[in-house]
């Protein structure tokens, strides 16, 4: 495989399958704000609140999800200071978990029992577009 030269344009496919919905963006930001208010020990098991780096990553992720045309996810806090976003339709499932260190883990399940998982790269935008495109298809 040849390495692209710096003077070559690299085009990333970013056309959303579904048009971004401003209402979904607003609801996602509201939910993030709500979770950001969780106090220490919100789970009764000594969890810290949502970590600052998690909030920062979540804001960036939400903006990318909006641009990608993602439907409203279910938000859940994760013990230890993280946040999980998840979607399900018919048999298709997608989960994105922002870990306490700011990394994003993903799990996609195209069929019951089938799962693909991994950690998104630091520059996750193109991967998130692909995941949303897969889910919306």
């Amino acid at each position: 495989m040849s390495t692209p030269r710096y003077d070559q344009a690299i085009v990333i496919e970013t056309d959303p399958v579904v048009e971004p919905d401003p209402l979904v963006l607003s609801r996602m930001l509201d939910k993030l704000a709500e979770l950001s208010e969780l106090p220490e020990n919100w789970d009764g098991y000594g969890s810290p609140g949502i970590q600052p780096v998690v909030k920062e990553t979540a804001s960036d992720l939400i903006e990318t999800l909006h641009k990608a045309g993602a439907p409203m996810p279910h938000f859940a806090p994760v013990s230890g200071g993280g946040i999980q976003l998840e979607w399900r339709k018919k048999n298709r499932e997608l989960e994105l978990e922002i870990l306490p260190n700011g990394e994003i883990a993903f799990l996609k399940a195209p069929e019951p029992g089938e799962m693909e998982e991994g950690i998104l790269p630091l520059s996750f935008h193109a991967d998130v577009f692909e995941l949303v495109k897969w889910f919306n298809a």
């Binding site: 279910h74 938000f75 013990s79 999980q84 870990l99």
Partner: protein
């Protein structure tokens, strides 16, 4: 994180209880389901109570809005997680489900999903 040795005095059929935050239960086609988020912890050890050593009332004391999930110890154990007793002040029933040492984050997602799938809801959490 210390290396945890699976406590075999806890039988596979022994029941573990985990309190459920309201955001950990979602509507599903056949009622409700537990989010995998309920069985994750960034510290890689998930707190539970050994049901045999407590009561639902004691586990839920102080957390009136939270629900309660039940899972057999054999489920996380079948995924190579250790179950250890971890009594704490005011809660001698406290125990931990511990990820295998060195487990990559990605397997954590899959395991939590499987544990959540096999857990049942004993009490629904209440939304304020």
């Amino acid at each position: 994180m210390p290396i945890r040795i699976d406590d075999l005095s806890i039988a596979d059929d022994d029941l573990l209880w985990r309190r459920l935050h309201p955001d950990w239960v979602l509507p599903a086609d056949d009622g409700f389901r537990i989010s995998s988020a309920a069985f994750k912890d960034g510290r890689r050890e998930v707190s539970v109570d050994l049901a045999a050593l407590t009561t639902q009332e004691k586990t839920l004391a102080g957390f009136p809005d939270q629900g309660l999930a039940e899972i057999k110890a054999g489920v996380p154990r079948s995924l190579s997680h250790a179950i250890v007793r971890d009594p704490i002040e005011d809660n001698p029933a406290h125990a931990l489900i511990c990820e295998p040492p060195g487990q990559p984050n990605r397997k954590r997602e899959r395991d939590a999903k499987e544990i959540a799938r096999q857990a049942s809801i004993l009490k629904m959490p209440q939304r304020k």
